[in-house]
Amino acid sequence: MLRSLVKRAAPKAVVPEPEVLQVPPPLTLVDVEDPAIESRNLSVWYARKHAIREVNLKIQRKGITAIIGPSGCGKSTYLRAINRMNDTIRNCRTTGQLLVESEDVYGPNVDPVLLRRKVGLIFQKPNPFPKTVYRNVAFGIQLHYRATKEELDRVVEAALRQANLWDEVKDRLDDSALGLSGGQQQRLCIARALAIHPEMLLMDEPCSALDPVATAKIEDLMFELKKVMTIVIVTHNMQQAARIADHTAFLYLGKLVEYNVTRELFERPTQELTENYITGRFG
């Protein structure tokens, strides 16, 4: 009897294909003029898995666009395609076009390193470097600029102020960043990204590891930041999307299902699939 357990371990676990619901043709109900980011027939594969399927999306400049959808719908993949972080994943292939400021970032002569300076990324789990608070924020500046100590101090302070973190950490700049609370760590990561003045900020479920108070602080911060930059946030929290986003896109099985002004999407979904999702019938 015990022996049968051993035998079962040998073959690799077979991941069952998700139950395929019919995904209707995408419906884009909002027209964004002069988009900061635009994808045209964007597809992403991991090895043979088709993670993003021909997504067309125009993202508003100086606004917050939310991407929602159930786990595994490809929303993080879409986000990471924007600043080419998917390049770091083996066997990941991208087709179609992704325009940032009307330039295809997958075109020839595009240096992903330069792109990422312009398009910051905040991760789901706060990932400060195991260094001091100060060194975390200074890292990006020191990468790209020759700065004197005074200049560096000024930029670090400005970034921390912009991230609403300065008052909490001004006396602990030389302490390890790992000693901060989760919410503070996440705002530190935002400050770190802001320090090099990105034009856009991508946020990959930035609050999913945080408590409601910390989440509220980050949402406040996003409202301030959207005055000066384009923000794209991936979230599985529909209330959050409803609270903060100007536009919301619903992705399912790698396909765009519906894209609309946030309030319209939540109050008057036009697709049955969208309605089922936002009313919590699956996901």
């Binding site: 390193v113 990422r116 910051g120 789990k125 195991p130 990468l143 990204a193």
Partner: protein, 287 residues
């Protein structure tokens, strides 16, 4: 079907534990006896002259390890200077750059097979290539180059573990800031891996210090009455000198070699202690 007795099953289990505990007891006992007898044998010869006198095969009371200790330090420094950059570089390539394709599999197989080559074979390699081929003669540099090849795979294996322990999120964070791959490695991954890399270096050092056979084969001198003066100097290493004394008949020479081993073990334990403390600190670090 007759059920197996629960008592028998429990007894089997208890039996295993008891046998094992007894085994540990015996093993620790033997280890204790070994250390004790080593110290007892060595005691009469543990004098300051042990490390200040040169080799002497007539009078055990005047025999010492001065040239051997200096030789070991020379060999050790040069071996580390060569093998650490090489080994850590290889580890970085294998962990950060290679993509698990055929080439990386060949490179990895090369490292693990090199780790399995008997040390005496490295001696033959050193004898042919460095001592004879490059006409270096049996000098410090030839010994260090030989041991560099020997410890290289150990540095690679331990350094890879240290680099692998750095969470991917650190790399992602750096890359997302617009760091190039090498900038992310040099400024974030390597500093975060530093404690593990320290452990790797110390383990390599410990191995270098204890190696005997390859140095015998390349022809380390066993009657050297001067300190090595440079990379082109003839040399004798601590374990080689100990072996030379063991080979002499008579309990007094056993005493001299045991005393040399105490010196060798003290150096090694010091290195190992630093390695263990370093690793524990690394493990305690939370991301």
């Amino acid at each position: 079907m007759k059920p197996k007795s629960r008592v028998v099953r429990k007894a089997k289990e208890a039996g295993f534990v008891i046998i094992f505990l007894a085994g540990i007891g015996v093993a620790l006992g033997v280890l204790g006896v070994l250390l004790a007898s080593l110290i007892v044998t060595a005691a009469p010869y543990l004098t300051p002259t042990l490390i200040t006198n040169y080799a002497n095969y007539q009078d055990p009371t005047r025999a010492g390890y001065a040239a051997a200790i200096a030789g070991t330090l020379w060999i050790l420094s040069l071996t580390l200077i060569f093998s650490l950059p090489l080994g850590i570089g290889a580890a970085i390539y294998l962990e950060e750059y290679s993509h698990g394709g055929r080439i990386s599999r060949i490179l990895q197989a090369g490292v693990s097979n090199l780790a399995g080559v008997p040390s005496v074979v490295f001696g033959l390699l050193g004898l042919l290539v460095f001592v004879r081929g490059l006409h270096l003669g049996a000098v410090v540099l030839a010994g260090a180059l030989t041991l560099t090849i020997l410890v290289f795979p150990y540095v690679v294996i331990t350094a890879r573990e240290a680099i692998r322990a750095v969470p991917q999120s650190i790399r992602d964070a750096a890359l997302a800031m617009g760091a190039t791959k090498w900038q992310a490695i040099r400024r974030q991954v390597l500093p975060a891996a530093a404690p593990g890399l320290l452990t790797a270096s110390i383990l390599a050092a410990a191995r270098t210090i204890g190696e005997t056979a390859p140095l015998i084969v390349i022809g380390a001198v066993v009657l050297q009455t001067f300190l090595p003066y440079g990379p082109d100097s003839p040399f004798v290493a601590l374990p080689v000198q100990i072996y030379a004394y063991i080979d002499l008949p008579g309990p007094e020479w056993q005493g001299v070699s045991a005393a040399g081993m105490i010196v060798l073990l003290l150096i090694l334990f010091a290195f190992n202690a630093v390695a263990i403390v370093g690793r524990n600190r690394m493990q305690r670090m939370r991301w």
